[in-house]
């Protein structure tokens, strides 16, 4: 596999993506007006975008759910988009596939805390002692999402996905700052878990379902999987088109 060929492929993908964004008025418009359109027809806008995408791109069989139900998925999609929003730099968590990434992670070992010490007895500890709960990550998400919905309804008479971006931010801030009263989980820890998994979904190798088309990496000039930097290590900054682990097979 020559590097040149790789770069060409990357270029081609870039072009088709830009063209797609230019041509699909619904997608760009929908994202631009955000909450307003989102609050009226969030579900339809998504579907329209998906349909159009499917016509132009190969169907991505990876984008289906292993753990969340549809409503949970949409809540996480909305919340992670607020954590890492679409802006002038490029796509946000939604377009990068972060919610699919989180869903897939929770379905596996990480969701079950398979490699964590989960033996009893459980006691409340000092914050310096770290997580001491008995719930695993998938349980924390399920409870956390339900509590986000409850909190949204209590304070704004709407579900989380129907809130304006500003109100979504307020809900997330209240979770992050532990202003929400929950007995089962720590709202702050739930938020931190969502935040760290958002960054994972944005920046992990695309093989995990996020970082779609390596766009997370492209936004920060990260070259991904490269065999060596011997030639550039002594020199000034150099932009290198990214490779993924797929390019290494």
């Amino acid at each position: 596999m020559s590097e040149e060929k790789n770069n060409n492929q990357v270029e081609k993908e870039n072009l088709s993506r830009r063209k797609f964004l230019r041509n699909s008025g619904i997608a760009v418009g929908g994202l631009a007006v955000g909450g307003v359109l989102g609050s009226v027809i969030p579900w339809n806008a998504d579907t329209a975008e998906n349909n159009q995408q499917q016509q132009e791109e190969t169907k991505n069989f990876n984008q289906a759910l292993m753990y969340f139900n549809q409503a949970e998925f949409r809540t996480i999609e909305a919340a992670t988009e607020r954590i890492f929003p679409q802006d002038d730099n490029g796509p946000g968590a939604r377009e990068l596939g972060v919610a699919y990434y989180i869903d897939h992670q929770l379905a596996g070992a990480y969701g079950f805390n398979a490699r964590d010490y989960m033996q009893p007895p459980f006691f409340h500890g000092e914050k310096e002692q770290g997580y001491q709960g008995r719930l695993n990550r998938r349980e924390i998400y399920r409870i956390g999402i339900r509590e986000m919905q409850n909190y949204s309804h209590q304070n704004y008479d709407k579900g989380f996905t129907e809130l304006s971006e500003e109100d979504q931010d307020k809900v997330l801030t209240d979770f992050a700052e532990e202003k929400v009263n929950i007995t089962t989980i720590s709202p702050g820890n739930f938020f931190q878990l969502m935040r760290s998994m958002t960054l994972e979904g944005v920046y992990s190798d695309p093989l995990y379902g996020g970082n779609k088309d390596m766009d997370g990496w492209k936004m920060r000039d990260y070259p991904g999987n490269q065999m060596n930097y011997t030639d550039i290590i002594e020199g000034e900054f150099k932009e290198i088109p990214p490779n993924s682990l797929r390019d290494h097979m």
Binding site: G92, D205, P223, T230, I232
Partner: protein, 571 residues
């Protein structure tokens, strides 16, 4: 039913750097050695898909499975110790090569001051300079005595470097030249020279050029691919036990390596070790391996755990200061650092190598006058370029939002515009800092796990503030537009990664009343038992520990060979 195997000359518990070095040295001398390794076999081919930050750095592919064994932690004796349920502050290696696989390769010698720290501190500042509860001890060996073993380790591993202008005397130069210098490193060099400091290139186990070591092992040069720390090297360029000493031991035909073998007890009778008992984790079978000499070379915590669970040596008692096993647990003070933002520059921060960097020792050890500061020792200050992978590196100005629009903008903007100068602060021992067995929590086989009692002290807080200020000064000289400097160290927190430089618990010295092993890592209380590793450090210096672990392992190997011939406590 326990199966008992035929006796061997030497059995080694844990095959990482210490175990691998000792296995290769003993088998070369014709001894029969059994190596027991709790984890799996490893080879370079395993790392074909290693450029995967999520799998290796965040899901800890190469680390011990905490569901099977962990430790408990408390800041002081009044608090209930609770298990480290998830990784944070440090990472426990697992499998063949142990922590020697996932290290960065920064290979520093300790300073002459370190080995005689108590005597030299009293000599220069008087007894009162040492806080009453600081259990500072000499090591029972001098730098000059250990120097040949440092040299041996560095030649085996092919360390790339140049002489430290403020370090101990070297008998020979490094076997390979220093690593390449990036623009960032050149900036650090220029700034520290201007400040009249003494910069040199970080000594590196990531080879600067192809190298054949004295054992005839050839390795390729580092490609600066930026995946060292928490990763294995796909080129075999980074020295690790699997690509250096273990093949040498295997080649002799004298090394019987058994992976998936979890040692639970050191067996002993009438003050002599008789062998070990282990569980084959694939079958659950209990096996006894008798041996003339037992060498324990697992990680710090497991070395202590094995001794205590086997009832060997006097457990340390913090209320009296008596006893030795578990004493002088120490760590590393790395938070006294600073980050600089360079608005008009852009760096290749994504590229690098685990041991790529420039460093100064002007504020390490006793290289500066401590008369007017309220701490002892110090640390190196370095600019390292280990490769900033994107999930874990999102630099944003202090006090700016950690999520949302502004976070995204800042993190994208600054990723290639920030440079850090970080400290490797020494960690000195205190009466209250120790390891013992937890009374409640058990490992997967029902054995008590280790309990750690540790917190930062004024010594650490003052040291961290001092190194942070120096780091800030260097960044200022480098031309940073804005600098975020650590202000308060805060309490020790087991949830945030700091460093995997845990030390102490089976410390060395020249007095059986205050140390567990002599300078051959031989147990005072049991002369055919050697306990080797950073567990034997009476304190931790302002450096990464591996060079010293390697040197002490070569010394211990010599000790085992002497012991097999003459017996008795070695002098």
């Amino acid at each position: 039913m326990v199966k008992t195997l035929p006796k061997t000359d030497v059995v080694i518990v844990g095959v990482g750097w210490a175990g691998g070095i000792i296995a290769s040295e003993l088998t070369k001398q014709g001894l029969n050695v059994v190596g027991l390794e709790k984890g799996r076999e490893r080879e370079t081919e395993d790392y074909y898909m290693v450029h995967d930050e999520l799998r290796y750095a965040l899901r800890y592919e190469l680390m011990q499975d905490l569901s099977k064994d962990t430790l408990t932690f408390r800041g002081n004796e009044k608090i209930r110790a609770l298990p480290m349920r998830q990784y944070g502050s440090f990472l426990l290696g697992d499998g063949l090569g142990g922590a020697g696989v996932h290290w960065n390769g920064q290979t520093f010698r300790f300073l002459p001051y370190d080995f005689e720290i108590r005597s030299k501190t009293i000599e220069r500042y008087g007894k009162n300079k040492i806080p009453a509860d600081m259990t500072l001890q000499d090591w029972g060996i001098t730098y000059d005595e250990l120097e040949p073993y440092y040299d041996k380790f560095e030649k085996m591993a092919g360390i790339s470097g140049e002489e430290n202008p403020l370090g101990g005397k070297r008998s020979d130069k490094y076997p390979t030249p220093p690593m390449k210098h990036s623009p960032q490193m050149r900036m650090f060099k220029k700034a520290t020279e201007k400040l009249k400091y003494h910069p040199y290139t970080v000594p590196s186990a990531n080879l600067s050029e192809p190298y054949e070591n004295p054992d005839g092992i050839s390795r390729a040069a580092c490609q600066y691919c930026a995946f060292c720390e928490r990763f294995g090297c796909e080129y075999g360029a980074k020295a690790d036990p699997v690509v250096t000493v273990i093949p040498v031991a295997k080649q002799t035909g004298k090394f019987d390596l058994r992976t998936h073998s979890w040692v639970r007890r050191i067996l002993h009778k009438d003050g002599k070790a008789t062998g070990v008992r282990y569980t084959d984790v694939t079958t659950g079978e209990e096996i006894e391996q008798p041996a003339d000499t037992v060498v324990v070379t697992s990680y710090v915590f497991n070395n202590v755990k094995l001794l205590l669970n086997s009832k060997i040596g006097k457990p340390y008692d913090p209320s009296t200061g008596k006893g030795v096993v578990g004493k002088n647990y120490a760590y590393q003070v790395v938070k006294g650092s600073a980050v600089g933002y360079f608005e008009d520059e852009k760096f290749n921060n994504f590229a690098g190598a685990g041991a790529l960097g420039m460093v100064i020792d002007d504020f390490n050890g006793d290289n500066f006058d401590h008369s007017d500061v309220d701490f002892l020792h110090g640390g190196y200050l370095a600019l390292t370029q280990t490769g900033q992978r994107p999930i874990q590196n999102n630099p944003i100005p202090k006090e700016s939002p950690t999520w949302g629009k502004e976070f995204k903008q800042n993190s994208l903007k600054y990723i290639n515009k920030t440079l850090s100068v970080s400290a490797m602060g020494a960690s000195l021992p205190f009466k209250q800092h120790y390891l013992d067995l937890d009374p409640v929590y058990k490992d997967t086989f029902g054995d008590p796990v280790i309990r750690m009692t540790y917190d930062f002290k004024d010594q650490d807080r003052h040291l961290a503030q001092f190194t942070a200020k120096k780091a800030e000064g260097i960044l200022k000289e480098m031309g940073a537009d804005k600098i975020d400097t650590m202000e308060e160290l805060g309490p020790y927190n087991i949830t945030t990664y700091q460093s995997t430089h845990n030390t102490g618990g089976v410390i060395m010295g020249d007095d059986p009343n205050t140390s567990a092993v002599n300078n051959y890592s031989q147990m005072w209380d049991m002369d055919n038992l050697f306990v080797v590793g950073a567990s034997s450090f009476p304190h931790n210096s302002g450096y990464n520990p591996t060079d010293t672990v390697g040197a002490l392992a070569y010394r211990a190997a010599e000790g085992v060979i002497k012991y097999q011939k003459s017996g008795g406590i070695l002098a």
